[in-house]
């Protein structure tokens, strides 16, 4: 009865209800991320010469270029540079900006582009085909400032043959080009007011490299002279050159000798090499030498050399004399037995250095040793600072500093005068796997109930009474909190706290660089904990299994890791022996059994219980196994020659079916083909995609469909749930098809084409997929395809507790950075084609088929948010039948809750409790006023009659 009521409610709801504007940030959360900022490409920059306000710019390891507001850490704009650069393997990227300019120039691979610093829109873009960009500089020359107020750009491209170009800052057109034919290794360029220095590495006869500096005229690009520094004994690899200073009044080249005893400094353009002996008092091995120098032309030619050993760090500040071009040591920053990070900032001509150690932050000017500002710093564990970008403001004789640091945990933090202003969890940008975990809650009760179930009647009764008495201790607290709860629920607009209904779930997110984070959907997606789980740069996670308070993470190398869900403490580690291709999880067991699958498709272990798994092998076969036997497969599916299997999907582990049939307009029933062992296998050929629907027990092909003219390089995604499957791909014009564009196809499976008929299953009491003749029966398949405006990169299905709520097909749209949920009734393949629906079809909710399916704005779960580069989408049911949780991860992290049939079991924000109370009060007052009047009238009537 209740089921019917709920079904009725669910079917009465309008097709889709979008998010309310006032529910944004309450029902959903979003981390707009950039990836971990890289040291050389993160800086503060004033985008306008008229204003003093600056933004924080970075080009991250994920090739995202973005501007961040330093006040609150929000993204002003961002661009995914990988989208415009064709070479995916680009290793080096560059980001440059001239102070006060409203453009910012980036380079990735062979692509150089200039962007509006305030709005992130393109100024110009150039693609170079002769190799990746090796270096990028802005020409700090008065004459180069064009009417666009943009400095000209000097680029160095090429692998073996370096080509230097001067590009116009306003249009990107090439002004001149210089090609280095000598075959030296292109290294860097550096500029001074009148000249451009091209630094290349000339392999010497025996070993090592000589540094060759070619001087070019900035106006014409003609070579004026060249110099070769004999550095072959010191420099064995390009990494040995510590620094090539650019855009300072006197650019320098810095390197050390092999034993790290002497520092060699050359002022570019001169032949002289200054040798400074490194003062290393303890004699400990120097791990790292780093040079920090300002970039702008008008700054003082001062620079800082930072030395780091395993236990201590110190630094020295050097000055270059502009007339004699001599380099002299100005002062030394004391050695501390902690790691230090230095950041350079400039203000007009002055140069300031910020030193960040584990215990303090100090700011000093490059000119003198005095510390201008000092703040204490408390470093948390796991918060080792990698690098920092700083900005210093000097007021009379006190200094204020703010700097953005990247921490070991992948967090990007802005610290202003020693206090943390904001933190961005940039580690999440590399999310590769995510999984819902059940927070510990009901397990104790389940355990207690189990005890009661197994005891005698009397014992169970006593146990229950005891349990309830124990529960009474919470009563006082509950009573105390009751008034507060009532008042807050009345006064705030907030939807009542639904965490008790399973809306507060934890999501474990594993990132590529070996970190594991927990995101709590109940607390607006805040990060509960963040741990370093593996020492790797390419962590591949195959599965996360949860079991009573801890989660086990299975990695590709066969290792597994158990963590406590609530604290993030690592409980145990199991080193891996065999690399696994995938993991099969048997979720029907309470404890959950995990079976790894090797790359040849063989399960690692056999378990004596019924069940079947389907695996894919490296050589392109699909194999069906009984869990009992991992020696020989039950069946093998080999696609035809020329096709290879790319994907296999099955129904979600939680896929309840509320109704086994579909009631038609004339009250007859089409029975759904509900086989729990369906596997949908995608095989691609040269320009075709074939979708095979297999019975996982017998291996029989139940249905197959072929698409031709398919672009197999673009995403082909598929999903299967209940009695339907959907896939999406790009098809082009072929001999048989006239359509060009992205397609979405949906197929529904029924037991028979005739309503009220169950086919061979109708009269059978028991049924076997294996032993019966011509079993399993083939489904009756109805399909429809739609043209869609853009590609779908990943698909999912919303999951609810009992499957009564209509489902939404979740699709991620990479082109418009969005996630949409298409309601299933829109994708009903029984929609009438070429005619208007009949009365009974209208009653079913069917409407006329249109070949083009425009994505309605109300389907956008991400509404106006920009969700970049989604790699996966997962859904989870809650205790509320109406509500399903959706989580998308990739570069950005997005979570929301969807109610495909409206929130029919909760009172939303539209329900005003105050209005209800006011109505009741008014009515009560009315009754109180009217009651004596009515009584008086009644009495009068009796007396007067």
């Amino acid at each position: 009865m209740w089921l019917q009521v709920v079904l009725l409610l669910a079917s009465c709801a309008p097709l889709v209800l979008a998010i309310f504007a006032d529910e944004v940030n309450h029902v959903d959360f979003h981390y707009a991320l950039l990836g971990i900022p890289s040291a050389q490409r993160t800086f503060f920059h004033r985008p306008s010469s008229s204003s003093n306000a600056s933004l924080l710019y970075t080009l991250s390891e994920k090739s995202f270029l973005g501007a961040v507001n330093p006040k609150d850490g929000s993204i002003v704009w961002r661009q995914n540079l990988a989208r415009w650069s064709s070479d995916a393997a680009a290793v080096e990227s560059f980001l440059r900006a001239g102070d006060g300019e409203n453009t910012i120039v980036s380079a990735l691979g062979g692509c150089v582009s200039s962007w509006g610093a305030l709005d992130g829109k393109l100024s110009w873009m150039r693609h170079f085909s002769n190799g990746p960009v090796r270096d990028l500089e802005l020409l700090e020359h008065e004459s180069s400032i064009t009417n666009f107020n943009s400095r000209d750009v000097i680029t160095l491209t090429g692998d073996k043959t370096g080509i230097i170009r001067r590009l116009d800052g306003g249009s990107g057109s090439t002004k001149w080009e210089f090609q280095d034919e000598s075959g030296d290794l292109p290294f860097q360029v550096s500029t001074s007011p009148a000249e451009i220095f091209y630094v290349s590495l000339q392999p010497s006869l025996l070993k090592g490299y000589k540094i060759k500096v070619t001087v070019l005229d900035a106006r014409t690009g003609q070579q004026t002279k060249h110099q070769i520094l004999s550095s072959e004994n010191d420099i064995s690899t390009p990494e040995s050159v510590l620094f090539v200073g650019s855009n300072t009044a006197s650019p320098i080249i810095v390197w050390t000798d092999k034993g790290q005893k002497t520092l060699r400094i050359n002022v570019v353009g001169t032949k002289q090499v200054h040798s400074v002996s490194i003062e290393n008092e303890t004699g400990e091995e120097i791990r790292r030498v780093e040079v920090k120098a300002p970039r702008c032309l008008s700054c003082l030619p001062h620079f800082l050399v930072h030395y780091e050993t395993d236990s201590s760090s110190w630094a020295e500040v050097y000055h270059t004399d502009l007339h004699s071009l001599a380099v002299s040591k100005a002062y030394k920053l004391p050695r501390v037995s902690e790691k230090s990070v230095f950041a350079t900032s400039t203000r007009f001509a002055d140069v300031y250095f910020t030193r960040i150690t584990e215990s303090e932050i100090s700011v000093m000017s490059s000119a003198s040793k005095d510390v201008l500002g000092k703040w204490l710093r408390k470093q948390q564990a796991d918060a080792h600072v990698f690098h920092a970008a700083s900005e210093v403001v000097i007021k009379s004789d006190s200094a204020a500093v703010r700097f953005a640091t990247v921490l070991d945990s992948g967090d990007w933090e802005l610290v202003r005068n020693g206090a943390t202003e904001w933190t961005r969890h940039e580690a999440l940008a590399g999310a590769v796997f995510a999984s819902w975990v059940e927070m510990d809650g009901g397990e104790e009760l389940v355990h207690e109930l189990e005890i009661e179930g197994h005891e005698s009647l009397y014992g169970a009764y006593v146990h229950r009474v005891k349990r309830h008495t124990r529960d009474l201790q919470h009563l006082t607290r509950w009573l105390r909190e009751l008034p507060k709860r009532i008042f807050t629920s009345l006064l705030t607009d907030e939807v009542s706290n639904l965490d008790g209904f399973g809306l507060a779930k934890l999501i474990l997110v594993a990132t590529q660089n070996g970190r594991l984070l927990a995101i709590d959907t109940g607390k607006d997606g805040s990060v509960s904990w963040n741990i370093k789980a593996a020492e790797t740069d390419n962590w591949t996670i195959k599965a996360i299994a949860t079991n009573s308070g801890f989660a086990t993470i299975h990695a590709e190398d066969g290792s597994s890791l158990s963590v406590n869900i609530t604290t993030g403490r690592i409980i145990s580690r199991n080193p891996g022996t065999i690399r696994i291709k995938s993991v099969a999880m048997l979720t029907d067991e309470p404890s959950g059994i995990v079976i790894g699958v090797k790359y040849d498709g063989t399960p690692l272990q056999s378990i004596n219980r019924p069940g079947h798994i389907v695996t894919l092998s490296d050589d392109g076969r699909a194999l069906g196994w009984s869990i009992r036997n991992n020696k020989s497969p039950l069946w093998e599916f080999l696609p035809p020659r020329g096709q290879r299997i790319t994907q296999a999907t099955c129904r979600p582990s939680h896929d309840p079916v509320a109704s086994i049939g579909k009631v038609l307009g004339d009250r007859s029933v089409l029975y759904k083909y509900l086989n729990p062992n369906l596997a949908l296998i995608t095989a691609v050929g040269d320009n075709s995609a074939t979708f095979y629907l297999l019975d996982a027990v017998s291996g029989k092909v139940l249905h197959s469909t072929v698409q031709t003219g398919v672009d197999t390089k673009q995403p082909i995604t598929s999903v299967i749930s209940e009695n339907w499957f959907a896939y999406s791909l790009w098809t082009d014009v072929t001999a048989t098809s006239d359509a060009k564009g992205y397609q979405l196809s949906i197929s529904e499976l029924y037991e028979s084409s005739v309503p009220n008929d169950r086919g061979p299953l109708g009269s059978a009491n028991n049924y076997s997929s294996v032993y019966d003749l011509d079993a399993p029966p083939r489904p009756y398949v109805i399909s429809q395809s739609f043209m869609i405006p853009e590609s779908i990169s990943h698909m999912g299905v919303t999951q609810t507790r009992q499957g009564i709520t209509i489902r939404q097909l979740l699709c991620t749209l990479p082109a418009s950075n969005a996630v949409i949920g298409i309601p299933r009734p829109v994708l009903d393949p029984r929609r009438p084609v070429g005619r208007d629906p009949t009365a009974s079809e209208t009653e079913e909710g069917l409407f006329k088929y249109a070949p083009f399916l425009e994505f309605d704005g109300k389907w956008y779960l991400t509404h106006s948010r920009d969700i970049a580069d989604i790699q996966g989408i997962i859904s989870s049911p809650t205790l509320l039948e109406s509500t399903s949780l959706v989580f998308a991860f990739g570069v950005d992290i997005f979570g929301t809750r969807v109610t495909p049939s409206q929130a029919f079991d909760i009172l939303g924000r539209g329900f005003s409790k105050l209005q209800l109370l006011a109505t009741i009060t008014v009515l009560t007052v009315g009754v109180i006023i009217l009651q004596p009047m009515a009584r008086k009238k009644e009495v009068d009537l009796l007396w007067q009659s």
């Binding site: 085909s129 990746p132 692998d159 290794l185 320009n687 673009q714 704005g857 920009d866």
Partner: protein, 282 residues
Amino acid sequence: MYISLSSSFFSFFSLLLLTLLKLSPVSASSITITIPPSNILPNPHALLPPSTHATLTTLPPPKSVSSSPKNEGTQNVQRESHILAAPMTRSSTFVFEDLRLPGVDASASYLLDIRSREFIFAPYRVDVAADGTVLGIWEAFRGNPWDNRGPEKFVTQAGVSSDVVIEAKVVGRRGFYEERSKFSPLSLFMNPMILLAIVASVLLFGMPKLLENMDPEMRAEFEKQSRSGPLSNAGRSALAGGGPDLAGWMAGASSNLNVGADSASKGTTTGRETGGSGRRRG
């Protein structure tokens, strides 16, 4: 690290360079798409986010094996997708420079899409010759055969290759948010139930007051007039304890008003009798 990478880069890029050199005619034209302000999109520069971009997509005909550097190992002739993307510039335009197909000496028919989350743009069909000159640009209709072209945007004059400038067409704007019905006292009073209640209470409280304050002569006249009216009958019957026949009167029973009045008066008597009997029993 540098050396190994650079060598791999070299091999890749030298191959790329070779293919590019092999077919590098000079007469390639570029396409510039501008977004004119319209009713739906009055200010393209302010309303379009920097992620807005345009794509040209096609699946070119199969390339011959010899000229494909990427398919070294495989012998099959696969058609590889070709997607060109252009970000939005500061002047709200999209510029495509090189429209030739890489590795294939063939003409191409691209689908031009402008990708924006909030604004829907009409798709275009762009036909490009093998040397990169634009042959023609038409509006395309999704869900229709590809040859079913719409209005012509540009068609080349024979033998002239020039840079093409076309205008994008905004078709619509997506509404992401649901409007929440606002609570306003006015809407509450516009509710017919409330209006009825107000009228009823005005009659209940206001009429006796009005009658009391009336001129005695006028009152007498009013009472005389209202005695013959249906409302007073109904009112009297209601006062007498029977059901008000207002509903019946409103439902159109006014044509035979007397019948209604009669039955009402009958109801009055029965009501009075039952009342009386009840009192007697008590």
